[in-house]
Amino acid sequence: MSKPIFVYVTYIAAPPERVWEGLTKPDVSEKFWFGYRVNADGKPGARMTAFNPAGKQVHDDPIIESDPPRKLVYGWKSLYKELPDERPSRVTFTLEALKGQTRLTVTHDDFDEGSKMFDMISKGWPAVLSSLKSFLETGRGLESTWDEEQRRHAGQA
């Protein structure tokens, strides 16, 4: 076994500046990130913070690199007590402009072997990034189906 790496690519019919806003500004993120207010607007050394729809803080991670609107890197450790207590991992967003569109690549790595958080983020990012794409292209994000899917998979197990 080797250390797991999650990579997801999506193409969004919007310029990188708008994708960047969605990833860094809480007033935008709450419209597609299932109500979460994610603030990653700072320079390297500042914090990435996230609050859930109930107003509880769920992230307080370092911004490692910020080159608007091209590259953003931050640490990742959930503050939810219910989730596995693992050391911080790392998220890298790369935005490339292509004829009025953006190719967004999300790489989430620096996990230990057998990480449980890895399984969770592997399910979470496709939903968040699909919702970001819908929001920027149609003005409407998607509904969260996390709970519904957890229940369904628990039922199958």
């Binding site: 690519v9 019919a13 292509l98 569109q101 509904e143």
Partner: protein
């Protein structure tokens, strides 16, 4: 006969689409739609398990040929793939592409799984890993907005060389 048990998933791509399962099913199985987001290819499929499956170039030549392994509208569409439209590629073993469509809130969760029967080199898998996000992003845009942005696709670096190497070595014939 394709021995499905010998195939293992190598690439999985999940995307959520704000549409009904039926709409996504049409997007995958109707040439009117595939031409707009799938590199210009028209899907040509006999709508039954065991039927023929092809992806056609705009001029009608066959790019990909295969067989339908599962036709369960609007939930599961699975078929074998053999690239016939590029010289030599037809000698590579077939792969299996499966689309699973599940309701997810007011939207659907579409899961594409590409499975192989041999130890495919990373450089060849990279072809699908760069292509699927472009193709399925296009499908989502088309279904949600009525327009699929043109996304230029090209084989990733090292892909053609890896295919050439595999065709000369034929590693899948080794037991």
């Amino acid at each position: 006969m394709t021995d499905v048990a010998k195939f293992a998933p190598k690439t999985i791509y999940v995307i959520y689409i704000a549409a009904t399962p039926e709409k996504v099913w049409s997007g995958l199985t109707d040439p009117v739609f595939t031409r707009q987001y799938f590199g210009g290819f028209a899907v040509d499929v006999e709508p039954r398990t065991g039927g023929a499956f092809r992806m056609l170039y705009p001029d009608g030549r066959v790019h990909i040929a295969g067989k339908v392994l599962d036709w369960t509208p609007p939930k599961r569409f699975s078929c074998t793939w053999l690239v016939e439209g590029m010289p030599g590629f037809g000698d590579l073993p077939e792969c299996i592409v499966t689309y699973d469509i599940e309701p997810a809130g007011g939207a659907v969760k579409l899961t594409m799984t590409e499975s192989h029967s041999w130890e495919v080199p990373e450089e060849i898998l990279a072809g699908g890993r760069s292509g699927w996000p472009a193709i399925l992003s296009g499908l989502k845009s088309l279904v949600e907005t009525g327009a699929a942005p043109a996304i230029a696709m090209a084989p990733p670096q090292g892909f053609m060389e890896a295919v050439k190497h595999a065709l000369s070595e034929k590693p899948w014939t080794r037991v």
